[in-house]
């Protein structure tokens, strides 16, 4: 008995600016591909049914649930994960700085998903209200923070990003 989806296919995908070519089973989840094939374990898996948002990555710039995609769907696409967020080894992204300063994380498990969603959101909404931030992250569950300090961090990050553009 062979399970469905065990045939293999070669995919080419750019993750955080690096081009990868891998031979994968077609049933392999994108989240598992990133974590266990590429070793990019910063993307976390919380529910594997598309609700908690922990596994959120950017797919051609748009936030997606990597647990709801299979790796072969990423063939020819560009993925960004939390590992690619910081400017370089020494300089954090404004979102990362803001989360650190405002205590926007506790256990850190939902954090990569929050950061990636907010990265996409703040690109389109550089000066959001508190309500808009809450709406933006309402697809990401956090069990530790009660969200308040995440919201504060997002608003502060927006401010930092606006300042850096001025």
């Amino acid at each position: 008995m062979t399970a469905v989806g065990t045939e293999r296919r070669t995919i080419r995908v750019v993750v955080n600016g690096v081009a990868y070519e891998r031979d994968v089973e077609v049933r392999l989840l994108l989240s598992d591909f990133l974590r266990h094939e590429l070793g990019l374990t910063g993307t976390h898996v919380g529910c594997e049914h598309g609700v908690c948002g922990a596994c959120t990555v950017l797919f051609d710039g748009e936030p997606v649930r990597s647990c709801l995609l299979i790796a072969v769907q990423a063939d020819g696409h560009v993925i960004e994960t939390v590992e690619g967020l910081a400017v370089d080894e020494t300089e954090l992204h404004p979102l990362q700085r803001a989360f650190w300063e405002k205590h926007g994380l506790q256990c850190g498990y939902c954090t990569p998903g929050m950061l990636m969603v907010l990265k996409a959101f703040l690109t389109e909404h550089p000066d959001p209200t508190e309500e808009e931030v809450r709406e933006a992250i309402s697809g990401n569950l956090c069990r530790c923070t009660g969200y308040q300090k995440i919201v504060e961090a997002a608003l502060y990050a927006a401010q930092l990003m606006r300042q850096s553009r001025e």
Binding site: R27, T41, T81, L105, C107, Y109, L115, S138, Q148
Partner: protein
């Protein structure tokens, strides 16, 4: 000037790694040659196993082994009863894999070990089991009736424990009361639901002869000890690490079947083995909490002073009692809260049901207690025409009445003795923050006049935190200038690396960044019990402070000898020990660590060790070649934190939705180590409390099937549902420990169901409803506000 680090909102040491995707959670660990496990779990709530056929699964590609009970060697013993209690007369624990019977949906029955998780899951599908269904009992009120189906036939009863606690003379109090009020109060089944599920990786390290285990546990030392005993290994032959853990909230402190089976597979197969729970498994494979049904009554005098309370409740234990009866004991002991209850009769039965076992979830019996007490007081206030704040004022234990004995034995075996607090002060501060008088006299009436269903609630709570038995810590100044700190406590997001470093930085006056905290790894610290019961800052923090103080003494002593001055003439500041008034005469801490170690060479770059004339052994008897101390702190009993919370809610009676307009908290966890961290803990607790007040209920049907075992159906509040929380600190230091701290981990979760119930009831006063059950939901609120149609 001495640097103040303790008490400051220092940014967390943990964060740079976690923010850049460089955290290491258990599922992030992939070892070469690693095998993967998937479990077959019972689809039935109560059944006998007639036969299991794993042959097809064994033949599947990539499958290395398929194990049932027969194949698990030393793991065939029943799982341990972790916390016995004399009143737990009928304990029952499971087998790691079901032997011949299953007692809840989700119980592990067989395990497949394969080359990948995908292949392991494929093979699970190929296992066939022939079941003989047995009668199921889910409803605990039915379970205690004669003739009810028995969860464990061999016990002859579904009652695991019957506890009675009596303080004063309750019968007399009730006989002379001006008023007696009775309520039936229910708090439903829920669960901690961390965003990271459980996971374990184990490997037998051939080179060292050590079983290495990475586990999402809140208690790595407990797991280490259990594995050593089970496999006949010395404790030093087992290393358990709780690396970054993605939330715990209580459910990750246990010895779960998977925690012995995965290491056993690694030992037996001599390959690394990993298991990561998926979310659907988590719903039925990781412990739940909360369901209690209380029949409570309160006796008061004509002015609303409490004369006595009688409470009889049923506690749902689930199918097994591995964690004893800690949860209902806490409920029983903490029910009186911050109030004087001179006469008290509390009685519970812990009842088996064919559901997932119950063990502590953030709050651990306390939200239940606060719900009962606060609902009773609201009832008294309403019936006597008193303001709900006033009835609390009249019953508070006063600041001069500490230590205050409740009269019962707490969960740790010590007296339930409140050490310090200022309950009236805390409530007044809350009312001030809320602008309560204006709110009640002006704002709410104005909004109601607009046709809005708005209400206010207040609730007060206490929390026994920082219980024993003990924790320990090693503090060592390294010759390179860093300070090494090791403890046995793991964290699941509570910022131990930060707050423990703050304590040490304060004691030694070294930069915060110089302190390196190691935790949750039995290779670094061997003794202790774990992170639970809001105890880390209190018990572990105190041990760290004591060890740091001892190192400080060692450093002062050594500097005094080297500089030929008296210890009293030295000061510790700016990372150095030097002569008062002559800062150039002194040493950095790193230099002192070098001086303590009489090696024949010096450390490069910072040379202070010089050849010395012979005076005998270079390390005289009683001396150690390091500035290092290991200290333990064992509290005499719990230290009692407290708080008060107020909310204004609005009910949309057309949709049954609940909107939080405002939420205020005043909390008192003694001396605050890091206000950012404390606020974060409070916020998170409140959010979970709001979940327990309006969203999160695990629905079982009568067949023991969990109907909402997914995040689609079990609703965790999102950022849209949680309101802005305004937190105010009150600091009443604990006299019990060297730092004056009290725990805060569970605080927010405790009063929230009670305060939401109070506010909703106030909002729906015109409908005459009484809120006696949480969580509420839109359906219930709609029915309450549309009695004619429902």
């Amino acid at each position: 000037m001495p640097t103040r680090v303790f008490g400051e909102p220092i940014k967390r040491a943990e964060d740079p790694r976690l923010l850049t995707g460089r955290g290491r959670y258990v599922d992030d660990i992939d070892l070469p040659g690693q095998l993967h496990v998937a479990f077959l779990r019972s689809p039935l709530a109560h059944a006998r196993i007639r036969s299991i056929d794993v042959s097809a699964a064994r033949d599947m590609p990539g499958v290395v082994a398929v194990w049932t009970y027969a194949e698990i060697g030393p793991c065939q013993r029943r799982m341990p009863l972790l916390i016995p209690h004399p009143d737990l007369t009928h304990p029952f624990t499971r087998y790691a894999l079901a032997k011949d019977e299953v007692n809840h949906v989700g119980e592990p029955v067989a395990m497949v070990i394969a080359e990948s998780r995908y292949l392991a899951e494929d093979a699970v599908e190929a296992i066939t089991v022939e079941w003989e269904e047995l009668p199921v009992v889910v409803d605990i009120e039915r379970a205690v009736q004669p003739g009810a189906p028995l969860v464990h036939e061999e016990l002859g009863t579904n009652v695991a424990a019957h506890y009675v606690g009596i303080v004063g003379d309750p019968e007399d109090a009730f006989s002379r009361a001006a008023h007696v009020f009775r309520e039936r109060l229910v708090i439903e089944r829920s669960a901690g639901m961390p965003i990271e599920t459980r996971a374990i990786v184990a490997v037998w390290n051939e080179v060292e002869g050590v079983l290495e285990v990475w586990d999402t546990t809140q208690a790595p030392i407990v797991i280490r000890n259990a594995l050593a005993a089970l496999f006949g290994l010395a404790p030093t032959q087992v290393r358990v690490v709780a690396p970054d853990v993605g939330g715990g909230f209580g459910c990750k402190i246990m010895v779960y079947p998977e925690e012995v089976l995965i290491p056993y597979a690694a030992l037996t197969l001599r390959r690394p083995v990993k298991w990561t729970e998926d979310r659907l498994e988590h719903f039925v494979g990781t412990n739940h909490e909360r369901l209690q049904i209380h029949d409570a009554e309160i006796a008061v005098d004509a002015d609303g002073h409490i004369l006595g309370i009688r409470d009889r409740f049923l506690h749902d234990a689930g199918a097994y009692t591995p964690y004893g009866i800690i949860v209902p004991i806490i409920t029983a002991c903490q029910l009186p809260g911050p109030y004087k209850v001179p006469n008290y009769h509390v009685e519970f039965r812990a009842v088996y049901s064919n559901t997932v076992p119950v063990s502590p979830y953030r709050g651990a019996g306390r939200p239940h207690a606060a719900f009962v007490m606060e609902r009773l007081l609201d009832r008294v206030a309403d019936a006597l025409g008193l303001d709900r704040a006033e009835v609390r004022r009249r019953n508070f234990i006063q600041p001069h009445e500490f230590p205050y004995d409740v009269g019962l034995i707490f969960q740790d075996g010590a007296p339930t003795r409140y050490d310090s607090g200022n309950y009236p002060g805390m409530l007044e501060l809350l009312l001030q923050q809320m602008d309560y008088d204006r709110l009640v006299r002006e704002e709410l009436p104005r909004l109601r006049a607009e046709g809005r269903f708005v209400g206010v609630g207040i609730a007060c709570y206490i929390e026994g935190t920082g219980i024993g038995p003990y924790e320990g810590a090693t503090v060592r100044v390294e010759p390179t200038g860093q300070v090494y700190v090791a403890t046995g406590m793991p964290q699941q997001g509570q910022a131990h690396k930060t707050i423990l470093a703050q304590i040490v930085a304060q004691e030694l006056q070294v930069p915060f960044e110089a302190v390196q905290v190691y935790e949750g790894d039995t290779a670094h610290f061997q003794f202790g019990s774990g992170t639970y019961a809001s105890r880390s800052a209190v018990v572990c923090g105190s041990a760290v402070a004591l060890a740091a103080r001892k190192v400080r003494e060692q450093g002062l002593q050594l500097a005094a000898e080297e500089l030929e001055v008296a210890v009293e003439d030295l000061v510790v500041e700016d990372g150095r020990v030097f002569v008062r008034g002559a800062p150039e005469r002194g040493f950095t801490w790193g230099q002192l660590a070098q001086l303590a170690n009489p090696l024949r060479y010096a450390y490069a770059g910072d040379l202070v060790v010089r050849p010395r004339p012979w005076t005998g052994p270079t390390l005289p008897p009683g001396k150690q070649p390091t500035l290092e101390a290991t200290e333990y702190y064992s509290p005499p009993h719990a230290t009692w934190a407290s708080g008060a919370v107020g909310v204004v809610v609005e009910v949309d009676i057309e949709t049954g939705q609940l909107l939080f307009r405002n939420l205020w908290v005043v909390h008192d966890c003694g001396t605050v180590i890091n206000p950012l961290v404390v606020e974060g803990q409070i916020h998170g607790g409140i959010a979970q409390g709001i979940g327990g007040a309006f969203y999160e209920k695990l629905h079982y049907d009568e067949n023991g099937q969990l109907l909402n075992a997914s995040f689609v159906d079990f609703l965790i509040p999102t950022a849209k549902e949680i309101p802005w929380m305004q937190v105010t600190h009150q600091e009443t230091p604990s006299p019990l420990n060297p730092l004056g701290v009290k725990g805060v981990g569970e605080a927010g979760a405790i009063p929230t169901p009670a305060v939401v119930a109070a506010a909703v009831e106030d909002a729906l006063r015109s409908f005459g409803v009484r809120i006696t059950r949480v969580p509420l939901d839109p359906d219930q609120l709609w029915r309450m506000t549309h009695p004619e149609t429902s």
